[in-house]
């Protein structure tokens, strides 16, 4: 069958094509599924944009290869005496890409710009009450309460040059029509923009006057978005691009099978989980139980957890690439509760027993809502889970849809059980607690993604204490308690951490970071 070997033969043709491409010295051509919408660091708080702009702009602090916080534009920082907040001493002799000097004024201006109503990233500065310039290279951030994690939470807060922004009337992120900062950049980072054709091609070239010494040998970085996964892979295998993030899970074996290419597999910090409608008093989609919501009974929720066999999902759907998850953050993230690191085992009999105990011996039907274009194999996972639930009597009526309609439906409580993936923005356990476990409280901007409105007084009480606790041991004890409560009450069913799969040519060394950010400055093309 000619069509069959289409997929598996070795690529003499492709290898040959690489040289034919006439790659100039150390150009890196890479692709991803989505194009960063804008070049304005404060306009949009989304991973693709922040990841790309981290190559151009820099924050006071930055994350190292192992996700730890290290000095960047701030050389050091200490808590303020006498009031809550932090003092940052800035690095001297740093210049922006247009040559102007970097001073505290620029940091203050960037703070005012980033916390303005027009900026989508203003939620990072919720705890900040005041910012004071002490001298040309020191600046204080005053917070409304002790905030040990504040430096970590502003790793993506990028600094603009005040005169450049005001000079090109881009003092605020574009409210409606684009302004100068949407298409042009002036950061302190390792690279600057050499060409921008939105949605088609974006070119980065090294910034000569960068304060840090360059580990990379890239002379030109060309980024092109490729929406269709199969086309992207073809582009890599045909040698037209050097690196692509991500590639479909099922094609890993293929790429590894071809010499000249390799695959980088890691764990993304995103945990995939099922959530319940804790606050719903009836099931919306059930055909047999319409007067009460069985999922309000923790035993039913535990039964659902026991019905899922993560190992077989791993083997068949993810080809052994995922890690089972016991809580809402993966292992290794600060605040991970080692004490509660085991998850409910796959035990269909125990699940049926629990259901019977809860009064549903032959189970019931309910509506399971999932996305079909947001997480890796999201639709396939939901179908697999639905068939596992059905095995124990929980008849799931599956409805999948594009993510553009998904969040509004969840906000209108249009589900019985729903699929959710969560990646902690601050890479700390406090983040999911603040957004997913704390009961919904709009003014305080808490629990905004807790769609089922799970609420536990003790958890609500512990959150502010965790946020202000300086002593790490005490903080971890409180976090362990929260994780224990939510596990015991099965607030969510954490399933697994999503695999992070990049593919590149052999002659490209690069570092894969857990937050799926691609740093051009760690790349060497040999």
């Amino acid at each position: 069958m000619a069509l069959r070997n289409l997929g598996t033969t070795a690529l003499m043709g492709a290898a040959f094509a690489v040289c034919a491409m006439g790659a100039s010295a150390e150009t890196l051509r890479w692709a991803s599924t989505t194009d960063p919408q804008t070049m304005d660091p404060h306009a949009v708080n989304s991973a693709p944009v922040l990841s790309f702009l981290n190559n151009i702009y820099e924050g006071l602090v930055r994350r190292g290869k192992d996700m730890s916080i290290e000095p960047s534009l701030a050389t050091s920082w200490e808590p303020l005496e006498g009031e809550n907040g932090w003092r940052f001493t800035l690095r001297e002799g740093v210049t922006f890409q247009d040559g102007s000097a970097f001073t505290a004024e620029d940091v203050l201006f960037s703070y005012q710009r980033a916390s303005d109503e027009a900026a989508d990233v203003r939620s990072w500065f919720a705890p900040v009450t005041d910012v004071r310039v002490v001298d040309e290279f020191t600046i204080d951030f005053v917070t409304n309460a002790p905030n040990p994690l504040f430096p970590d939470s502003i790793a993506n807060f990028m600094i603009l040059d005040k005169d450049w922004a005001e000079g090109n009337d881009a003092a605020l992120p574009a409210r409606d029509a684009e302004n100068f900062a949407t298409m042009n950049v002036n950061g302190t980072g390792p690279f600057t923009l050499a060409g921008r054709d939105p949605g088609v091609r974006t070119v980065l070239v090294p910034h000569e006057g960068w304060w840090d010494e360059a580990e990379h040998n890239v002379t030109e970085g060309v980024f092109t978005p490729i929406g269709n996964a199969a086309t992207g892979l073809a582009a890599l295998l045909s040698g037209e691009i050097d690196f692509i993030q991500p590639i479909p899970l099922q094609d890993v074996a293929q790429v590894e099978g071809r010499e000249g290419f390799r695959v980088l597999e890691g764990e993304e910090t995103r945990v995939i989980m099922f959530g319940f409608g804790h606050e719903h008093d009836t099931l919306l989609y059930s055909t047999d139980v319409t007067d009460v919501n069985p999922f309000q009974d923790p035993r039913v929720r535990l039964a659902a957890a026991h019905a899922l066999d993560i190992d077989s999902i791993d083997r068949v759907l993810f080809r052994g690439k995922i890690e089972a998850a016991s809580q809402l953050v993966p292992a290794g993230i600060s605040g991970y509760s080692e004490a509660n690191s085991d998850r409910p085992a796959y035990d269909p009999d125990r699940a049926r027993a629990l259901l019977a105990e809860a009064g549903y011996p032959d189970g019931f039907s309910f509506g399971l809502k999932c996305t079909n274009d947001r997480y890796i194999n999201d639709e396939a996972l939901c179908r697999a889970a639905a068939s596992m639930f059905a095995a124990v009597g929980l008849n799931a009526e599956l409805s999948t849809g594009p993510v553009r309609d998904y969040w509004p439906q969840l906000r209108e409580d249009d589900f019985d059980m729903y699929l959710l993936g969560w990646s902690p923005g601050t890479f700390d356990m406090e983040h999911p607690i603040r957004f997913l476990m704390h009961s919904q409280d709009d003014e305080a901007r808490l629990g905004s993604w807790n769609f089922g409105n799970y609420s536990n007084a003790r958890v609500d009480e512990l959150l502010p204490m965790i946020q202000q606790e300086i002593d790490p041991a005490a903080r971890q004890a409180m976090i362990d308690e929260v994780v224990a409560i939510t596990q015991e009450e099965v607030a969510y069913i954490p399933l697994y951490t999503q695999p992070l799969i990049w593919a590149a040519k052999d002659n490209v060394d690069l570092t894969q970071r857990a937050d799926n950010f691609f740093m051009l400055r760690w790349v060497t093309v040999n």
Binding site: A230, A380, L398
Partner: protein, 301 residues
Amino acid sequence: MRDWLKRYEPVWLFVHSPAAIVAAVIAIAIIFGAVFAPWIAQVDPYDLSSFSLFDGLLPPVWEDGANPKYLLGTDDQGRDMISSILYGARLSLVIGISALTIAAVLGVGLGLAAGFYGGRFDAVVMRIADVQLALPAILTALLIDGIARGVLPASVQQDVRVAVLTLAIALSLWVNFARTARASTFVQMQKEYVQAAIMMGQRPVRIMFVHILPNILGPLLVIMTVDLASAILLEATLSFLGIGLPADSPSLGTLIRIGMQFLLSGEWWILWIPTLFLVALVVSINILGDFLRDVFNPRLR
């Protein structure tokens, strides 16, 4: 038997053209398989409990590592390919045929009236046709999908997806019927039997549907077969663009979309078997369509 065969010419022509026979055999076999899928297929792919994940990604029986229980292998969910295809073809045919009927009723009705009344009414119908042609099929599908989601209550939405898709496809096909019906009606309007009916004072509706319609069925029938093929293809394209049917009640188009993800990962059969099946179905329908056009086109004889 011989003279009956001879006397009724289309049948005689059919018996003597091998292509039409082969096409008819394939089409009937597929339609038979689709209609009787529940009894033929081993597994009901729509019932989630009837298959398990562990049988996922099994190759066809002539490949190594295959499970004889699944002759043509299984897809990523462990569904038997043959059953999925039969059920998928059934859904595709249901959508295709119902979309076609709606398009035919709407198109022929408007086309006949436009041809009969002519003048301003004809111009209005043709402009509506222009608007419909200017809206790409994907957008029609998207908009109807959006309306259904906005208007209908949440619980009903899932099983109304098929109706939404059918309506969307029908809306993008009715223009062909309208244009052909209109052109044929203009020809018939010159004929004296129509003038006689008008002179008698018969109601326009009766003239259109009792007198004119039987005489313009020939060309419409040909469009019917050609558009059935494009309706099925359109359903496949829409599901590729993410607007088609949900993955748990696959049509042929959805199966192909799922198959696309495994194109390079070695599981070639998930894509190519449904695609070859679709090609066989569409080609045979088209060949029958061509045959019908030659038979019903008086001038060709």
